[in-house]
Symmetry: C2
Subunit: 418 residues, 2 copies
């Protein structure tokens, strides 16, 4: 069989290790030159496919691949865009397939989260309906760790390592600055529905009184009275209290706290949840407060990636290519955990259909009985994912990140006006 080209694209929020997956894909494809011709990447995910905006990754040398593996952010650009339902917009799928055909793409690898797996399925179905030979493989990625079908999601371990490190460091600062009046610190972390990243900050704690002292999960309805009581007790004991808050914590009625449309003075509350909580504590208990919103920093910190996470990110890239050339359509490489300590894992194919658009929340058994902390089982599960350092090279005091130099692929079709 004549080799066919492979098209890789990145989708959704990017991570510190998604490009390690890209590097894994490119390296694995090279090992299978009998099956895979060129490795193309779409710019900005499926949008780049629709726009026929492609680059050719085949010319990257070993040094460039190493640099790609160490580069945070999405080297080829990402997008937040879902294809329509195939029945609603067949022209959109005609276009996707026309672009794939124009570039002799036989393998499509979509590197993303829950929604991206649905995109991979839709394209597979559209190809089949049109008689176009194509193998679609999903490749997992998300700092939110909310993908089903895999023990953990590449990207999460590095974000968790960054947040746990930051909480440990901020906790030392807070401890130094605490005075008689009492002081709190709130760290607002990503996680609209799932508290995995909030949970990861608990790894910062070595002794019972270390930060964080309270963790607010989106999985647990926010109980203001219980929260304030706990803050007060902590400050009475230590003089300070460090709090991790998922951006998506909700009231008992299930609505996002931050969208409940009120603040302490009766105005519409516009800020993030970290600030809101800090002000709540200040208003009720009169403590001084600081709050941080790491935002992009928590998912872009290439200088502090987890070596474990990066290995897994690369491994799912390699595996996805194996599945593709074996014709395993609509699967995703999932990580299966073999043991916690020593941590052992392997990659196995997982069907996309049952996992697309699902969301894996922190199980109740991973959260302590009172709902403000991780349980020992949760800690045991999380610990291995942040292990190992994989620092980038430095130049002039800063990480020496380099973007891959991949030439654009000449367009063969007219513009898309969908």
């Amino acid at each position: 069989m004549k080799p066919r080209n492979l098209l890789y694209a990145q989708s959704g929020g990017v991570t510190a290790v998604i490009n390690a997956t890209a590097a894994g894909v490119i390296e694995a494809a090279r090992m299978h030159a009998d099956s895979v011709g060129r490795v193309l990447a779409a710019r900005h995910g499926i949008l780049g496919v629709l726009d026929e905006d492609l680059v050719d990754c085949s010319g990257l040398d070993d040094a460039e691949l190493l640099a790609l593996r160490q580069l945070p952010g999405g080297a080829f650009g990402s997008c937040r865009f879902d294809l329509d339902a195939p029945a609603d917009n067949p022209a959109q799928f005609d276009r996707v397939l026309a672009v794939l055909a124009a570039h002799n793409v036989g393998y499509f690898l979509y590197n993303g989260g829950n929604g991206s797996m649905e995109t991979a399925i839709k394209i597979s179905q559209a190809a089949r309906a049109r008689g176009y030979p194509l193998t679609c493989v999903g490749v997992p990625k998300t700092v939110d760790n909310d993908l089903e079908g895999t023990d953990c999601s590449p990207g999460f371990g590095s974000a968790g390592k960054y947040l746990a490190t930051s909480m440990r460091e901020a906790g030392l600062d807070l401890r130094a600055m605490a005075g008689r009046r009492g002081r709190i610190f709130v760290m607002e972390v990503m996680g609209r529905n799932c508290g995995w990243l909030a949970a990861s900050t608990v790894l910062a704690r070595r002794a019972p009184d270390d930060a964080p002292h309270i963790v607010l999960f989106p999985e647990i309805p926010f109980d203001e009275t219980a929260f304030l009581t706990r803050v007060e007790r902590c400050v009475a004991r230590l003089g300070y209290c460090a709090i991790t808050a998922s951006e998506g914590i909700r009231g008992a009625d299930g609505s996002l706290l931050i969208e409940q449309g009120h603040d302490l003075s009766g105005h519409v509350q516009l800020g993030g949840i970290g600030q809101w909580l800090a002000r709540l504590v200040h208003a009720r208990l009169d403590y001084k407060y600081h709050w941080t919103v790491p935002d992009y920093l928590q998912r872009a910190a290439g200088h502090l990636v987890s070596a474990t996470d990066r290995s897994q990110a690369e491994a799912v890239g390699w595996a996805a290519v194996q599945y593709a050339i074996a014709g395993r359509d609509c699967v995703m490489p999932g990580i299966r955990r073999r043991s916690d300590a020593p941590y052992r894992w392997e990659v196995e194919p997982v069907d996309l259909a049952p996992i697309a658009n699902q969301e894996r929340r922190v199980p109740r058994s991973f959260i302590d009985a009172d709902g403000f902390d991780l349980s020992p089982a949760g800690l045991r599960w999380l610990g291995p994912l942040i292990e190992g350092q994989a620092p980038p090279p430095y130049l002039n005091g800063l990480p020496d990140y380099r973007l891959p130099d991949c030439p654009p692929v000449a367009r063969r079709l007219g513009p898309y006006c969908g």
Copy 2:
């Protein structure tokens, strides 16, 4: 002369390298056992002196001193507290001197910023007025870099390295996520009156289009129209725009933007300046936005200190002890720059009187003509300060910070009720 004890204390906002200064003090004192007896540290700065809350650092072994050098935050606790004017509250100074006398303290080293230098002067004057033999030495420290009398302040280089790294990483994330609609990212950094930390983020840029694209200094009055024009042009060219904003940017009338008491909907604005700017751009130009507030993270990031900064932090600790035993009262070790490239510096004594309570702002020559960027001279000055990595040891995937185990010193006086 019989050796007398040395009392060291930390004051003001802590840094990632202030404990390297403490380690330098302790090591240098050991080399001069003929002059210095025990090295004591006050808990929470001058408050610990008033409370007679002291610990003994003399027993730390080499491994503990190395750990101290790598520990962010203030190992002995800090405070934000100014002594009264000596004429207004002589009892307060009686107490300070009583505590110093009770513990045979002949050398007082105060490690802090502008206000702390004033404290050192006041204590020196009080000692002289009471005929108590004491040498008071200030030791510079501040992430804000606003101390006069020194080319740069220990603590600043590490915070700058952290922020420049974070801006480079967030810029890669932003680039990946940019879409047709346009997207901005705002990083709010410390600096109420001085834009040094904001300036440091410019080091992240290697190519003209790299982040940050706009820097807002407290030294330059905020011009909303010019700012929005610049944002719009940047987004038109790249699809995105990364902005660094000092927390202390001001309007043309000199008032803090964040305290001007308005937001876009007419309500009192409660958030930080990063969020305010992001919403301003969103309201006027309809771009998507993200914003980060690193807060404590920027000054506590022991995992990403500048080796240059840490060397300087340690050197000023060593020098302060030399000055103290030489009887050089009311001086501070300042860093004098000998050359930019190669970067050469030395430590020299600087009189405290002219520098206490002063504030060193970013000179106009370090800011570009249009006021939204650093000038080449500013870049040349900043570059060396973030050079070199000095990572801590890691254990279980996280920095293995260890607090020094210094026994409390038995109290010899009654409680202070001042």
